[in-house]
């Protein structure tokens, strides 16, 4: 049986919120189509949106955390990676103060995820140094 459909989603690249159709053939992502009667993007996309399917299954995509050990990046568990980040951030905060740390959030995340990072920056670390990639 041949299956072809388009899955409607929102482009993850910036905060505009353009609608993209992910073209799925036999359960594999094969391309992108814009959404003509969508209220925001009205059938248009920028070059990033047009290529949004390309990173999903890209071999260069990181699927596991990496920790640099003796100058070499090695695969690690999430627990190990998060422990390391928390320890280092704690050390830096104690040595140099909370404003020595900055957070960079992303338009690829949901509002809720961005809120959580803001909460981590302000309530846990104690800094207002937070920005996001959509301002780049």
């Amino acid at each position: 049986m041949i299956e072809y459909e388009n899955v409607l989603t929102t482009c993850p690249y910036c905060g505009t919120g353009c609608a993209v159709h992910l073209q799925v053939l036999d359960n594999k992502l094969v391309g992108v189509l814009p959404a003509k009667n969508h209220v925001i993007s009205k059938g248009g996309l920028c070059i990033k949106g047009w290529n949004v399917h390309a990173f999903v299954n890209h071999p260069d995509r990181l699927t596991k955390p990496l920790i640099r050990k003796n100058g070499v990046l090695e695969e690690a568990t999430w627990e190990e990676a998060l422990d390391l980040v928390a320890t280092k951030l704690g050390e830096i905060k104690n040595e140099s103060g909370p404003d020595s740390i900055a957070f960079l959030s992303s338009a690829k995340c949901t509002n809720e995820e961005n809120f959580l990072l803001s909460k981590l920056a302000r309530a846990v670390i104690g800094t207002n140094n937070i920005d996001h990639c959509a301002r780049l």
Binding site: I2, Y4, A19, L33, N37, G44, C46
Partner: protein
């Protein structure tokens, strides 16, 4: 509109048992329309059948047939889409042996939206709706009547709005070269916005659309900068008609002028850009 939609649904129902799928449009979340392959395994999806806005379905057909060259596919297509399919067939993009065309004739307002000269199918044996006359393309006529200086100024201004999304190239069912000139640094500098010379991109594309553009206007529809680029292709099409008596998609047996120098089968073998 409803009547036509019902007619299309009824025809798809009768065709479905004999094919691997019927390519048409489906209304998704929020009424957003996209191409969909209806199958006999999921007849309930037909409740969401849609016919407007039109989509670049010839390209979808190519995607499916590249993966399943032997598949029996029926496709609901408008006049421009049918021309697109015929032209892609002539350029060895797929075989039409197992493809059934279901023609959908456009309504007056649809034809006017597309400034379409031929809002009807000519090859499909099964058709829905009555063919209507083409509508005049006043925008193309207006630009054609400009002086050379006015034209230059007009296009320069339009091209300066280009955000280099490559949408017109990517959505175009007739853009299928193995190597795309627009990705060659010689013609289009990468990594720079605005483009140092946007006319280069658009002129290269205009040349490459010669005797290929089927006037579906998908490029204009997807352009975030509203550049009326189909006007260029239509003006070139007038010259091609005059010089070679060729109209893309019109006559199945007529070879496109750019393929006349190639022997039968050479084009598929070389896959040359043109």
């Amino acid at each position: 509109m409803t009547d036509r939609l019902t007619s299309v649904r009824e025809i798809i129902k009768t065709v479905l048992p004999g094919v691997d799928g019927v390519l048409a449009l489906r209304s998704g979340p929020g009424g957003i329309v996209a191409p969909y392959l209806f199958s006999k395994e999921h007849p309930e999806e037909l409740a969401k059948l849609a016919i407007w806005p039109k989509e670049p379905v010839p390209d979808t057909l190519k995607i499916i047939l590249k993966a399943h060259p032997e598949a029996k596919i029926a496709i609901v297509c408008r006049g421009c889409e049918e021309r697109g399919i015929v032209e892609m067939y002539k350029h060895a993009q797929f075989s039409l042996d197992n493809v059934t065309l279901i023609g959908l004739q456009c309504l007056q307002d649809e034809a006017e939206f597309c400034r379409c000269a031929k809002p009807y199918t000519v090859h499909a044996k099964t058709t829905i709706g009555e063919p209507i006359e083409g509508v005049p393309d006043s925008l193309t006529d207006k630009i054609a009547a400009m002086s050379a200086d006015e034209k230059l100024a007009f296009w320069k201004q339009e091209f300066e709005h280009c955000i280099k999304c490559y949408g017109c190239r990517t959505i175009c069912p007739q853009c299928f070269c193995n190597i795309c000139a627009l990705e060659d640094e010689i013609w289009v500098e990468t990594g720079r916005l605005p483009m140092p010379n946007p006319s280069m991109y658009h002129m290269v594309r205009a040349m490459h659309m010669t005797a290929k553009c089927v006037a579906c206007r998908e490029c204009e529809e997807t352009c975030p900068a509203d550049i009326p680029m189909a006007v260029q292709f239509r003006l070139i099409a007038r010259d091609v008609k005059e010089m070679f008596n060729y109209e893309p998609g019109a006559i199945m047996e007529q070879k496109p002028p750019q393929l006349l120098v190639l022997e039968e089968g050479d084009y598929a073998r070389t896959g040359l850009p043109h």
